[in-house]
Amino acid sequence: MDWLPIFLSLKLAAVTTTLLLAIGLPLAYWLSKGGGIFKVTLEALITVPLVLPPSVLGFYLLLAFSPQHGLGGWLQRVFHLSFVFSFQGLVLASVIYSLPFMIGPIKSALQQLPANLAQASYTLGKTERQTFIHVLLPNIKASVFTAMIMTFAHTLGEFGVVLMIGGNIPGITKVASIAVYDSVEGMDYRTANHYSLLLFGITFIMVATMFIINRRNAKSPLE
């Protein structure tokens, strides 16, 4: 069996999850503080990929980053960078597509923390940043972990968007979900089975681990 698609899928999921952690934590914090119509609109926009057909997202990304014109053209001319048919294109698509999975649990958890935790920290002279790192974040560990697992698993299973903008290039954009589809189309059910079982196994173990760990954490002192 060709292991390349599996490694590619894992690599994509890992890169996406890491990026989303870096983007998602500050963004979730900012959104959790509540605000006006701008924040609400932004949050809605972030959540849209959750319910949008992946092919729609793929289609718009295809048009937006087409190297023939506009943004895609500029990126191609100036940086020789393309977000279609490339690994970075898949990363960009995955980041957009899985963002709500990272933001959702973290924002919820932050909003459920008692408000006076942060207030106590401020009276002790700590900045918002210090408070976030030393007080808030340690107390939402379980939710952060959940968000990471969900993001990772969700990216592993991504298909529709990758189909549109991936180009099925072996070693670069031919991820496991595409490989399964390919094998089925080519009536190679044995290979399709292998990839599918592997993907299922990996995802199941991850999600089960998450549930087990969360069960232990259910006795959080906040409850």
Binding site: S66, G167, E185, G186, M187
Partner: protein, 280 residues
């Protein structure tokens, strides 16, 4: 008195004796005959609106609409057509998808259906595909072999050769020209010929290998520049068709066979030729 009923698409003939009622026969007997004739009229109406389902390979996307309309005009039988990649359609048919006729992009896939018992006859060639190289950009494709290896061409779209006959033909042609490895480095694989067409018409690739029917399609709004690939450089893309077992199960055999015959008729051939296919 026998009631002979013919269903020939439109015609229903009912034995006229149905309408003669001897005065000594009872009223209920008259009612029964009226009821039966009403049912026959309804059946006739249903028969008139008979529909068959056709599975067609992706490359027929544009021409199938014209063929559908022409066939219905001539016979009154409606055609529901579903296009997709041949491999996908075969997998669906093998698993009970309700199609009556399958128009493939090659001979192998319909052969597979005969082997799996979904069809009882060998496939017959209804058209031969014509491979072209095509671009949204105004570039000179006459010497595409020289052009394709230069930096002017950044990405090349090819249908996945493992499952799409036009992709296979494209690779054969590239192999013949000794360019396969170089082009593979810039290749982008479409899951079907339709996806390749999307890539070409949105300009995300510089050039793509596709069917002539894309550039001949009057419904295509994008201006495309193209060059036919010499048929000598690839094995002929023989597109085969079969009538499926489902037609018998659904009672559509007559209509399905009519469509089958239609596809081999001169009317269909002239439409196919207009869309760039080579007809046998």
């Amino acid at each position: 008195m026998p009631h002979r009923i013919f269903q020939c698409g439109i015609f229903v003939s009912v034995d006229v004796s149905l309408f003669s009622v001897a005065p000594h026969q009872s009223i209920s007997m008259n009612n029964k005959k009226l009821f039966i004739s009403l049912i026959l009229v309804v059946f006739a109406a249903i028969a008139q609106a008979q529909t068959i389902r056709v599975a067609a390979a992706a490359n027929l996307q544009s021409v199938i609409k014209v063929l559908q309309a022409d066939f219905t005009k001539r016979t009154g039988v409606k055609v529901d057509a579903v296009t997709g990649s041949s491999g996908n359609l075969v997998a669906q048919i093998n698993n009970g998808a309700p199609f009556d006729v399958f128009l493939s992009a090659d001979m192998d896939f319909p052969q597979k259906l005969k082997r799996s018992g979904q069809s009882d006859k060998d496939p017959v060639v209804y058209a031969m595909g014509s491979l072209v190289i095509c671009s949204k950009e105004n570039i000179n494709l006459k010497n595409w072999q020289k052009l394709i290896v230069t930096d002017a061409v950044t990405k090349v779209a090819i249908a996945n050769p493992k499952i799409a006959p036009y992709g296979k033909a494209a690779e054969e042609s590239l192999q013949k020209a000794g360019l396969l490895e170089q082009v593979r480095a810039k290749a982008v694989y479409g899951e079907s010929i339709s996806q390749v067409n999307t890539y070409i018409t949105t300009g995300v690739v510089t050039v793509g290998f596709t069917t002539q029917s894309l550039v001949r399609d009057p419904a295509n709004a994008t201006k495309l520049y193209w060059q036919a690939i010499s048929p000598k450089t690839y094995a002929p893309i023989e597109q085969g068709m079969v009538v499926l077992k489902h037609a018998t199960d659904a009672g559509n055999t007559a209509a399905a066979n009519r469509f089958y015959q239609y596809m081999l008729s001169s009317a269909a051939k002239s439409i196919l030729k207009k869309y760039g296919y080579i007809v046998p």
